[in-house]
Symmetry: C2
Subunit: 192 residues, 2 copies
């Protein structure tokens, strides 16, 4: 039992995304997800409050890593360098399994307005975590807000590129996120 329990969280996420793509988000019940994952309903509820939260399970971890990367950047790092350090840290937990899983996750989110809304709120949460960490470094408000908005957009764009698998199979997410951040930074020279 302990061995099964150990991977339960990941199996629940995979089972849910598979069911959401097969039969739609609304039609999928917690009982079905638990059954597909080979665990009981009470195991489900030990890991997640409801089926919606299941798809944004990584939000707290990502927020923490983004904030840690920013906090631990060298004292003389610029706001955008600190954000880059946060993106690098957060990218480190996204492995080949996340990459392989990304298209199904995307399809599941696209299938439900409720999941799209929850996904949008996830981005807001990641941005807020970066803003707080930048302000704690002494970065003044409008600059902190802008830098974290760029960081959030870079993470989303880098993730999308990475998920489409254009690069080598053993690529991590970090180079994609950092390239997207550099691209956005360069684009800001052409705004006016």
């Amino acid at each position: 039992m302990a061995r099964w329990e150990a991977g339960a969280r990941e199996r629940l996420v995979v089972a849910a995304v598979d069911l959401f793509s097969e039969q739609g988000y609304d039609a999928t019940t917690v009982a079905q997800i638990a059954e597909r994952a080979g665990v009981t309903k009470s195991t489900f509820f030990r890991h997640f409050p409801d089926k919606r939260e299941l798809l944004v399970a990584g939000q707290e971890t990502l927020s923490r890593l983004l904030a840690e990367g920013i906090a631990e950047a060298p004292a003389n790092a610029s706001p955008l360098e600190a954000v880059a350090a946060g993106l690098e840290r957060a990218s480190s937990i996204m492995g080949p399994v996340n990459r392989e899983f990304a298209p199904r996750l995307k399809a599941a989110i696209a299938s439900s307005a409720e999941l799209q809304a929850r996904d949008a709120l996830k981005s807001v949460g990641l941005t807020a975590a970066m803003t707080t960490a930048l302000v704690a470094r002494g970065v003044p408000d409008p600059i902190a807000a802008l830098a974290s908005e760029l960081g959030s957009l870079a993470f989303k764009r880098g993730y999308a590129e990475w998920a489409e698998g254009r690069g080598a199979n053993d690529d991590g997410l970090a180079p994609y996120a950092l390239a997207a951040l550099a691209e956005l930074r360069a684009a800001s020279a052409s705004l006016d």
Copy 2:
């Protein structure tokens, strides 16, 4: 009846926000909202699919105005000047009633994770509308994405300042949104 029906949409929004702040979003039913607004449940459903959509009722109008302002900006306008034109156009529908109503709306959204998620998705929708309009002007992708992200952030920040009522009572939203956009543009010089 026709006279009542005419203002039904606005009255439904006001009634809903009042009830959400008084007794919470989850505890508020469509029947209660309709009763408070003095209309039938079927009138409610002629205007809104459910209680969640009621709070983002203006999203389609705002998206359309943002896109129109961008599309009709002079041909030689820069991406950020086009976004400014969009913000100005969209701001024009926000009157004193919206301003007076803003604190209750904010409280209602803060009271419910579901509304926060729907509100986040609204921002994503406004950003996407601006990106599409910029791309249609020939602005290349990373620049269009960045400019519309700045526009969306400026609209949110300008709205918050305006709603707090620091300026004169007859101030429109436009100068707040444009000032926030200029502030963000200036901040981008301090990113690195």
